[in-house]
């Protein structure tokens, strides 16, 4: 009986020592995973996920605090990429955080704008040009379509306009397949 006790205690001590040493030797600092998650997120910085931006959301996912299906701008494709990276099953987008919309950009009606700069302060990517009492303009190429500027505008002069498809941006569609009778999942 005592022999058994000694054996188990000895084993425990030995393994404890080895693991303790390993814990020091292979200590992990920081979390490189956050950057990899952040690289997948669409960077709209819209906050629909419930976090103040894409990076904070990435951090939350890496920490296991947030689910992967809270990003409507990333769409199902984004969820799938996150699922692939993290080795989990993809799941449908959580409707609580909104639904995916066609990519839009903010447009300021320059006749109405009073130059209050509220939208400039709201824009997460500094895509609105202008100064106090001066008319503001959205830099279309840099607008992420986050809609954060729409609410603060006191005169409701900002509208979200879906990007029009033109020839350089036109995409070939998925071929229509007559036999693809998809059974509802």
């Amino acid at each position: 009986m005592t022999a058994a006790l000694f054996v188990m205690i000895g084993l425990g001590l030995f393994l404890g020592l080895v693991l303790g040493f390993a814990a020091l030797k292979f200590k992990v600092e920081g979390d490189p995973l956050v950057d990899q998650i952040d690289a997948i997120l669409p960077q709209t910085q819209c906050g629909q996920c419930g976090y103040p931006g894409c990076k904070p959301y990435a951090t939350a996912i890496a920490a296991g605090d947030a689910d992967i299906n809270q990003c409507p701008p990333g769409g199902e494709a984004g969820v799938k990429m996150l699922a692939d990276l993290l080795g989990v099953e993809p799941k449908p987008l959580n409707a609580e955080h909104g639904v995916p919309k066609p990519k839009s950009v903010a447009v300021i009606d320059e006749n109405i704008c009073i130059g209050c700069t509220l939208c400039i302060q709201a824009c997460p990517v500094d895509a609105i040009l202008g100064a106090a009492k001066q008319m503001h303009t959205v830099i279309t190429a840099e607008c992420t379509g986050c809609e954060l500027c729409v609410a603060p505008c006191p005169v409701d002069c900002i509208t979200m306009e879906p990007l029009k498809e033109d020839i350089p941006h036109w995409k070939w569609r998925y071929p229509v397949i007559p036999i693809q009778v998809q059974v509802a999942a």
Partner: protein, 339 residues
């Protein structure tokens, strides 16, 4: 909206499959000549089961039934399985086998074009390990027996297990040469003695070697029609011949001759009809060579050392497992790329 190219060749999956069926016909005729009409019963049974099962599954899955029934792939699977099974097997063996092939091996994976394993070989292997005794009883070649069952009598036997009076089952069945060889070798008989057995023909089993030659003929037709490429048959037959040749040369008393391997068992059927199944086989030129050579090596190993008389089915299935890796690692050099 139509897309380019605006016209295509007049080929179709149905035509491809039809040609494969056509190529099997000489082998079937030789089979009937050598072993009697039992095989015809099996073929009818397997075809009917396959078509019914295919239709039922397509209906269940809400897929268009007719185009897929007419594509002929189910018939090819059914025929290959029927030709691999003993022609005096009871009816339910054929039915169960066909159901395994069509439902489990083919349609669970999404049907035509998606099955990773060769359906006929899945069914054959499953039957072999489930019913080893029935699966190894083969009819005696007609040349060697006075008992010649009529088509009706064959039918009677297969469905009701009833033989005409005065005919014993033992009189009309025997082991296959491959099976016999293996058991006799275990009993330390010499190769020469073993080959004295009456059902050995010139090279392999009496009758069976004629059937195999007819399969070869059908295979040449498929090659000519460009339904199959030369890679798999050539690599398979050459590798099998070389391995068996080398070992036979080293120790002829213990290892069978290459021609015995080539014309015995399911070798020819495999070379031109089973291993060349495009869906479950390798697709790149180099991959096809590796795939076929692998089947040959495994077939020889199992035939010589394994627990089963013929290794073709298992060899094909084992190589099927390797196909995704083979294909991924044998990609040909793309034009304009250096490798």
């Amino acid at each position: 909206m139509k897309f380019s190219p605006f016209f295509t060749t007049n080929t179709s999956v149905s035509i491809v499959m039809l040609k494969v069926l056509l190529a099997l016909v000489p082998g079937i005729i030789a089979y009937v000549w050598a072993f009697g009409s039992g095989i015809v019963v099996s073929l009818i049974l397997a075809s009917a089961t396959a078509l019914l099962a295919e239709a039922a599954v397509l209906q269940l899955r809400n897929r268009p039934v007719m185009p897929f029934l007419l594509d002929g792939s189910a018939l090819v699977t059914a025929w290959l399985l029927a030709l691999a099974l003993p022609p005096i097997a009871p009816w339910w063996l054929v039915v169960v086998g066909t159901l395994i092939a069509i439902v489990i091996a083919k349609h669970l994976y999404g049907g035509l074009g998606q099955n990773p394993f060769n359906p006929a070989m899945v069914a054959y292997a499953a039957l072999l390990i489930s019913f080893p005794v029935i699966m190894t009883q083969w009819p005696v070649p007609l040349e060697l027996t006075t008992i010649k069952l009529s088509f009706i009598e064959q039918w009677q036997y297969i469905f009701n297990h009833v033989l005409p009076s005065g005919v014993g089952f033992d009189a009309m069945s025997s082991a296959t040469p491959l099976d016999y060889l293996k058991t006799q070798l275990k009993m330390h008989h010499t190769m020469e003695d073993i080959h004295q057995a009456k059902f050995f023909g010139m090279f392999a089993g009496k009758g069976a070697e004629i059937v195999a030659s007819m399969y070869l003929l059908g295979g040449l037709y498929l090659l000519h029609q460009r339904i199959i490429s030369w890679h798999i048959p050539v690599a398979f037959l050459t590798t099998l011949a070389v391995i068996s040749g080398v070992f036979h040369w080293v120790n002829p008393a213990h290892f069978s001759a290459p021609l015995f391997h080539l014309l015995g068992g399911a070798t020819m059927l495999c070379a031109f009809f089973i291993a060349t199944d495009p869906v479950s086989g390798a697709t790149t030129p180099k991959g096809k060579l590796i795939f076929a050579a692998g089947i040959a090596v495994l077939t020889w190993l199992i035939r010589t050392y394994g627990g089963y008389p013929d290794g073709v089915a298992f060899a094909v299935l084992l190589m099927n497992i390797l196909v995704p890796l083979i294909d991924a690692n044998t990609q040909p050099r793309v034009f304009g790329h250096s490798k």
